[in-house]
Amino acid sequence: MTATILADNLDSYVQDPLNPVKPNVPAFAGQDQIPDHVPPELIKSCGLMFSPEFLASPHDYMAAMQDNFPPIFYDVTPFRNSWYLTKHEDCLFVLRHADIFRNLEASPFPRDPNDYFFFIPQEVDPPQHRKYRNIVDPLFCPAGIMKLEGLIRQRAQDILDSFADQGECNFNTAFGRPLPVSVFLDIMGLPQDMRDTFVSWADIMIHSQDQAEIAEAFGKAIAYLNGAIAEKKANPDGGVVSLIANAEIDGRKLSDKEVFGFVCFLWIGGLDTVYATLNNIWLWLAQNPDRVQEIIDRPNDIDNIVEELLRRYSVTFSTRVVMKDIEMRGVKIKKGDRVMTILPAANFDPEVFPNPLEVDFNRPRKTILAFTVGVHSCMGGHLARMELKIALQEWLKRIPKFAVKPGAEITYKPGGVVGPAAVPLIW
């Protein structure tokens, strides 16, 4: 293998957001491309995200990874080979050492290497990273999100009004999708009539396995967002697209590529994750009416309830590129390797969360990995928490008793955001 030569290219890589260049990260895939330093007993193909075993019940599958696989192993797939980490402690270590584990090529979406851009702030390292976060953090911090509570509640009530008296719905399309996406559009300052179009593009980008289809959907999104950015530069408003389009760091305006990479990243991040989270949680609620009653009976504990549900139903993963040789749990991981923190599995680490599959609203507060940790922690985490809280409160006010529609078969969407394809409910 030429792993060492390829990895040495990383040393000379300069990350300049004003002149974004595609990092030359070794990309190995398949059985033929396993670096020599990987011990044979740690080579696995666990089937995360796509296998029938995973898709039968993803969170049970990820909880069982604690017993069925070594805590660190090398996963081989036709798409990408990578170390997989499932221990809470190890995931914290990786995510908290941004100098050793860098967020290079963090988004899998196809970009033109000759006209490259960074997804900002995700793919920018410290110290520049914080400058971008400071632009939007006042809006996305807890105090900023609290100002949106009334708006989010109104959106939730309006959406519930549209179907609450019908006695049944597909949760995903009736509520799980419209709530976070309409709130996101409000925050970004984008028109509500783009809601379903945006979702369809994002759905293809995140869940399709057809590269041509992904590129086409992404192309449409790029064209739309560039138009929206131009419009907000000409006519600034109070939305986040306008805020970014007209922002400055270090006394200069953001470049066109910085603005686009920032807006595009928020666009992707805002459309699918809360949606999947709500779908997972409502399936659990529909199957556990006694726990629904417990939530109704404990209104003052709503923050702990939200945190525990986010632990139990985390929906995504986080990948890093290793910048220097390092040993973890006796496993030699080398420069140029990729590591993926299996966040939902780490939230089932029994050393940190005993009896991990049990939803227990009385757990002591510990660091959950739903939003990762470290400098790249999800900036939308507080928004997600607020949306989940309001969704629970408003839904249970209107529809306190509900169940999965008899005969409905629950299937899961393959891909990097984990959730059921449909949750048919009756009440």
């Binding site: 923050d303 002591p364 940790v373």
Partner: protein
């Protein structure tokens, strides 16, 4: 605007303006002050904005604001002391103008 002095573990210190209503964790982040990670952004769901309130300010700053803060402090990476707080849970008021907080050795 109220001022907060952040004292690093090595003894060096910086004094900056932190607006009323803003929290002490964010005051550090916005001013590029090291020693406070604040990685969850103030949920609170981590303990990486741990600080020791200066003894002279302990009474004004108060104790852990809620059970979540107390739980998280139990798991903080550095030694827990009577004046330990999560700085994201200390919100600036006029009464806290001049507040001094000390950084722990490490946040994780």
């Amino acid at each position: 605007m109220p001022k907060v002095t952040y004292v690093q573990f090595d003894g060096s210190q910086q004094t900056v303006d932190v607006p009323l209503g803003e929290n002490v964790m964010r005051g550090a982040l916005y001013n590029g002050i090291d020693g406070i990670a604040g990685e969850c952004g103030g949920a609170p769901s981590c303990a990486t904005c741990h600080c020791y309130v200066d003894d002279a300010w302990a009474e004004q700053a108060g104790k852990a604001a809620n059970a979540a803060e107390a739980d998280l402090l139990e798991g903080a990476a550095s030694e827990l002391r009577p004046t330990s707080r999560l700085s994201c849970q200390i919100v600036m008021t006029d009464a806290l103008d001049g507040l001094i907080v000390h950084m722990p050795e490490t946040q994780y």
